[in-house]
Structures are given as C-alpha cells and as structure tokens.
Symmetry: C2
Subunit: 211 residues, 2 copies
DNA sequence: CCATTAATTCATCACGTGTTGAAAAGTTTG
DNA sequence: CAAACTTTTCAACACGTGATGAATTAATGG
C-alpha cells in the first residue's frame, strides 16, 4: 500500500478471464474521439480510459485509423430500415415523423455518435463524404424521390440543413434549453419546417449571381 | 536544378521591402485551419503556405494559439451593428432579413470564416463557447429580447439551429445545389422558417422525459 | 501435465511537433 | 558611414506521438 507496486492490476501476461478489451477500447475511443476530434485524441489517452495498454490498439485494430473506423464511423442506424419506416405513414405528417425519428435515433447514444461524426469532419475528408452520403443519398434523397415532388435535391438539402443544425445545437455545442428539451416539444416546433420543405411550395434554385 | 541552393529567395536576414509577413501568415493560417482543423494544422505547413519561416509565427503571434486567435476567431462582422440593422425594418419580414444578412456576411469571405469556426469547434472548447456566445447571446438572443415574445431562449435556439445547419451544408460539407444557390432563392425557402421561429406560435419547452 | 497458443505489458524506436536562441542581413537613425 | 534596431533564417531542443517486437503470463488441448 505504500508504493502501489503491489496492485495486481498491473501484472503482465494474459488477463484472468473475460475482460473484453476490444469492446472497452471501442467505447473509450468513441468517448475520446467525441471530445477531442481525431487528431486531438491520442492512442495513449484512449487506452488509459479503457484501462488497457496502448499496444492493444495495434493488436486488435491495426492502429489508430482502424479503431476510428470501428468506433466513430460505425453508425447506430440502418438507413434502409429507417426510410421504409418513415414512408409507411401519412404524407401530411412526414415532417413530424422525420424529426421524431432523427432525435430518437441520435438520442439513443446520448448524442455521442452524432457529435463524433461532426467532430471528425474537421480533420477527416472521409467523414465529410460519409455525412453527405448518409443524409443526402441514403436518407432524404430517397424519401424525396418516393414523395415525388419537384426540386427534389434542393428540398433534401433544406431538410438536411435543419436537421444537421438541430444536431449541432443539441449534441455538439449543447445550447440550452434545446440540449435538454423533450422530444415531442421539439417535434412540435420543428416538424412544420420539415413538412414544408418536403411538400410545401419551394421555388426552384437559381445558381449564384442571378438576383 | 540539381541542388537548388542558388535560389535567392532563401537568403538570410531581413527581406528587401514591404513583404507583409503578418498578413500573409494570417491568410495562410485561415486557409489551413479551415482545411485541417486546429490540431491537424501545423505551424510548418502554415508557414510554408505563407512563404516564410515557421519561427515567424512565434515572433509575430507568440505561438500557434495566438495565430489561431488572430485568424479564425477574428470574425468578419460586428454583432451590434448587425443586430440594430436587422431590428430597423418591419417585424413581419424579419425572417427574410435575417437569412439574407446571414448569407451575405458569410458569403463575403467565401464561407471560409464559417467553415474555420466550425472546424475548430472540433478540437477547441474555446471555439464552442465562441460560437455559443456569438449566436445565442450577441445576436439572436438580443433580437428575441427586442421582439419581446415568450420562450425567448428556446426561439433563439431554433433560429440558431436552422442557420448553423444552413452554414454547415453550404460552407462545410458543401452539398449541391445549396452550395451554389442564389441568396434570394434561399431567402425565399428558409425565410418563412425563421419568421415562424421568431413570431409564430411555439409551445414552451419541456425538459426530458415528460412525453 | 506438458506443449501450444492467445492475450497483455514493457521498453524502445523513428518521427513530427511547437518552440527557442543565436546569427545574418536589411532598414533606420544620428 | 557607423551604430542601433528590426526582420528573417537556421539549427537544435525537449517532448509527445503512433507503432513495433520481445518478454511474460494465462488459457487451451492433447
């Protein structure tokens, strides 16, 4: 007890049992990447948080990059499922449903996944394309196509802007009171916006400099 | 071409004339911070881009942090002026005016300032607070206070969410077609959203878990 | 119960970082 | 023109990074 060298947690070799190092590393990585971004997060910090040796990152994931891919870029949703669920209900209430689903999905992990994704956009071009692909092509692009209105891509852009902004404010910058506002309250406030972007009157986009 | 040692651009001592090193560094810094984020950007990269020696960063700005403050955190706007201008017109069209002003201000630097701010949010807690202070307290908070509606802070949050999201999509992830859409077209599409957040009916926020 | 395999730790490597101090060369001042 | 000052380059430092390989210990299988 005097020097602490007798603590058994530091002995060498294989650990007694179970002790799922892989999972512990993924969870610690998600937390640290979320707080620090890709460059700011260090392998040593992640390993310390997970209570294991930094070398385990290489052993299990082949390096920092691999751990990043298996933690942050692993989304908590299946886009196809989400889209077909959203398209089942009435078209007049799709705005509300989209907002409710968006918040439910990202709230389920405490916003960590969303924040991590946005934070990694900073230093990783890979993440930018991931975000674009996820929101535009796989989700809102598909919905707009099914709904069958004009200016589909422009509408998808508008929807993405409001929802990404909502995620920024709720999960990343964490403004009060939106950070802790009940989902249904937000649905009532933002739902009509999304509804209008989907089915309301939207004039066609003009390229720059034709005002 | 063999050794390249004869190029005169590498001579020591004070440069011939003018050669505004400070400005060159600030501009290079803004570009590199925008592309790489705070941690990802290195002093050496910035200096090379500006065509000067890395040591100049310390000489003129006292270090990387100082250069960051003088480039990225130096906003292209004066909040007070903006706010009083926005409050001059009719209250029924404040939504349009806010969107138009937002886009005009950030477009003026090609979106670089906004992207840099968001990118630095990733690794810099300082930038998070800067963003929160700028949008909530200094701009939308003041407007909401002057307008004098209920749930002021909640409304300010909603406005911020839509505009920050617009900036994300237009300047950071650069989705098409929003990236290149004419300002007035965007005003027509998003103006009503902001108008409703300011003066429409918005139910009061409920804390989590009371659905 | 011994040999093999898997999991973990440790010491260390090569490298890139931000920063520093001294030397060199131009500019300004008397 | 010479002294003082300012601007710039260069070499180097101390440090932290991600990664590697050998040593060590537990689990496993015949």
């Amino acid at each position: 007890m005097t020097t602490g060298a007798e603590q058994e947690g530091k002995r060498r070799g294989r650990r007694p049992a179970g002790a799922d190092t892989k999972t512990a590393l993924i969870e610690a990585a998600r937390a640290v990447f979320t707080e620090q971004g890709y460059e700011g997060a260090t392998v040593r910090t992640i390993a310390r948080r997970a209570g294991v040796d930094p070398a385990m990152v290489n052993h299990w994931f082949g390096g920092k990059e691999g751990l990043f891919a298996k933690s942050v870029l692993q989304l908590p949703i299946d886009p196809s499922t989400i889209v077909s669920q959203l398209l089942e209900g009435d078209l007049d209430t799709i705005g509300e449903r989209v907002v409710r689903t968006f918040l439910t999905v990202w709230d389920s992990t405490g916003g960590g996944h969303f924040a991590a994704l946005v934070r990694s956009v900073a230093s990783h071009q890979l993440a930018v394309e991931g975000l674009r692909d996820l929101f535009l092509k796989q989700i809102f692009g598909r919905i707009v196509a099914k709904v069958g209105v004009d200016n589909g891509l422009f509408r998808a852009n508008l929807v993405a802007s409001q929802l990404i902004g909502m995620g920024m404010v709720r999960y990343v910058t964490q403004f009060e009171p939106l950070k802790n506002t009940d989902i249904e309250t937000v649905v009532a406030a933002v739902g009509p916006t999304i509804q209008r972007y989907f089915t309301g009157e939207i004039t066609a986009p003009q390229p720059h400099g034709s005002a």
